[in-house]
Subunit: 350 residues, 2 copies
DNA sequence: CACAGAATTTAAAACGTTTTCCGTGCACTG
DNA sequence: CAGTGCACGGAAAACGTTTTAAATTCTGTG
């Protein structure tokens, strides 16, 4: 309305700090009740008569009252904030973003906000966790890519801080997690390659320090042993290797004798890199070699249908993590808060 | 220390709500000063003698004091929060994540936290903006994919709320933005295709409603007209089309007479889809046709070096947006707060 | 019809800051 | 040495909520 006060834009162009924002007091005056009563009525406290409860809710809705987060947080100590630790490795291919959309959906109708704490470029992830615990920056924590004895998990367990990981650990104390069944993925992927009649299979594994390295290796080896088929595992390569390194490796190896003709690729980038490396050597997908890849977006199957894909629904994972965390925060026993996602062979309609 | 109170884990496993956290009062007692003085000393107020100022800072550092965000926010009305509007279209290829890492870097040494407000799955983006303005949920806003008369921008301008967009608008009132020079990209891409001796060029454009649709079209057409070369522009397709749709279109078109042999692809997905479509028809990249693509990760050039790429540094864009927003919040005049990123022909070392 | 007890409502304190308004004590001036 | 001004520091109020403890009204009973 009146914008006369400030001469030019040398001043912060903010509306007068929270002018006229309705508070409990506003409602109290409007209804003639005390602030306490209003607060209780909105909180659906038992000792408030149904009558006033309804009246207060009506007025609140009418004037568009929304509790002040700062005041609530100051008073109660609860932040109504969920923090997501973002890993640099998640930069590619929307990994982080998918999970976040899922999380957001889970937090949709709750008072929780999602704040992202990117692996402070200098310090390690552990520092970020420490910071959040120490200074009560959030009510709960979400992160991924766990190690068997992940220091972040240890820290959180020691402090009894609510969290959900994407990935399992090997601590004896249980904790909430959502994980994809990477054993099943690797087993199924190898199996499919074998069924297609491939002579020798290979797999690009995650970095050794991550928990799901073991899971994948195990699933792959189980299928290989059951079928008694030849296999090999690249030692100089992992899922985090740059795409050109993977491509070059595949190209080189495929020119040597006894090269594998079946590839399990637990990521879209590695699959694309493999396709390029092989086609550089003149091999054609689907006839001379096959790929079974894990897919987290629709990209791969849309571009190159000859790649067989197994889907991991990251958005669903994010949503599940959000729900588990909410339960964890209200004190649900940890034991029930673990989810193992099954590999999916058909795709969700988005 | 004592954790006897609660019987089992039917209760939130939180440490006693903010027990023993140092406050201004703690410092006041330790130094024998008044709370007021401590507050002033930490805020480097002029009326405090250098001596006490130093002493307070020392004690504060020693006991690891950190101001309570809730109290600050309640008192001052400033939230110390920057909100990022996340678009569903940014799910793919780490678009959102790159920008967020950049933002995070810019906010690194500031008190600002980054909270992500994903396009509330039901309501439109405008509702989210409205919600944030109305309820003072943040001190500033960041979002992307602007339209010429973007309703979000209009709303923010009307309310004098600080924000920075990724992308320009056509409002006469100026506002802070960071944008990529898509005119230059399209011009350069077409130019390169022409230099390579292509006979007929084409480009996959963004959705018509977005501002940079115009920029790209204009850049492309300028190069085409200068060279007097044949061109065509797919009408049924845009950058947001699913990859398989792009692939099928390219496949179909390339089998018809007078097909284009030079493709400008302003995204990695569209480039990959084009490659697949063309190679399905037996055309080989680099000899029978060429692609110049915009690349926002290292993926494309690492996988398929025969694609010529022009780089858009999204992390840098994010960082710039963060910096601009900070300046905007302290009231810097808007006119100086616009950045046009130049297309980059060499890659940053990450 | 007075009164115990339940049912409902209220006043006031507290959370940790920032800020407005004052009170010191001191060094000068005249 | 009274008075003036300045440099420094402090008391107290306020932000909007939740919560503790207490006050009020209402009910039915004897």
């Amino acid at each position: 309305m009146s914008r006369i006060e400030k001469p030019a834009d040398s001043e912060p162009a903010r509306s007068p700090p929270r002018a006229g924002k309705p508070t409990l007091k506003t409602i109290a005056e409007l209804t003639g009740l005390a602030i306490t009563t209003v607060s209780r009525a909105l909180g659906n406290a038992p000792q408030i008569s149904e009558n006033t409860r309804r009246r207060v809710h009506e007025v609140a809705a009418e004037i568009g009252y929304l509790p002040d987060r700062a005041a609530q947080r100051l008073k109660t100590g609860r932040t109504n904030v969920i923090s997501v630790l973002l890993d640099p490795h998640e930069e590619i291919l929307g990994f982080g973003t998918s999970i976040m959309h899922g999380l957001a959906r889970a937090l949709q109708a709750t008072p929780y906000h999602l704040i992202v704490t990117p692996n402070f470029l200098d310090g390690s992830n552990v520092d970020a966790v420490n910071y959040i615990i120490r200074n009560g920056m959030a009510d709960g924590l979400i992160f991924s890519r766990t190690e068997p004895f992940d220091p972040r998990v240890r820290l959180l367990l020691e402090n009894g801080f609510p969290f959900v990981t994407h990935g399992r650990t090997e601590f004896s104390t249980p904790h909430a997690f959502v994980d994809y069944d990477n054993f099943a993925f690797a087993y199924e992927a190898a199996k499919r390659l074998i069924v297609k009649g491939r002579r020798k299979v290979t797999i690009i594994l995650p970095p050794k320090r991550l928990t799901f390295y073991q899971h994948m290796l195990h699933g792959f080896m189980t299928a290989v042993r059951e079928a008694g088929i030849a296999y090999e595992i690249p030692e100089t390569l992992d899922l985090d290797s740059p795409a050109d390194m993977i491509r070059d490796y595949v190209r080189r190896r495929s020119a040597e004798p006894d090269a594998p003709d079946g590839f399990a690729c637990p990521g879209e980038v590695s699959a694309l890199a493999t396709i390029t490396g092989m086609s550089d050597q003149g091999f054609t997908l689907g006839t001379e070699y096959d790929i079974v890849a894990k897919q987290t977006s629709l990209l791969l199957s849309q571009i190159q249908p000859k790649v067989e894909t197994i889907y991991e629904d990251l958005k669903a994972a994010g949503e599940a993590m959000g729900q588990l965390l909410l339960q964890r925060i209200v004190g649900e026993p940890v034991e029930d808060l673990t989810i193992l996602q099954n590999p999916q062979f058909s795709f969700p309609t988005p």
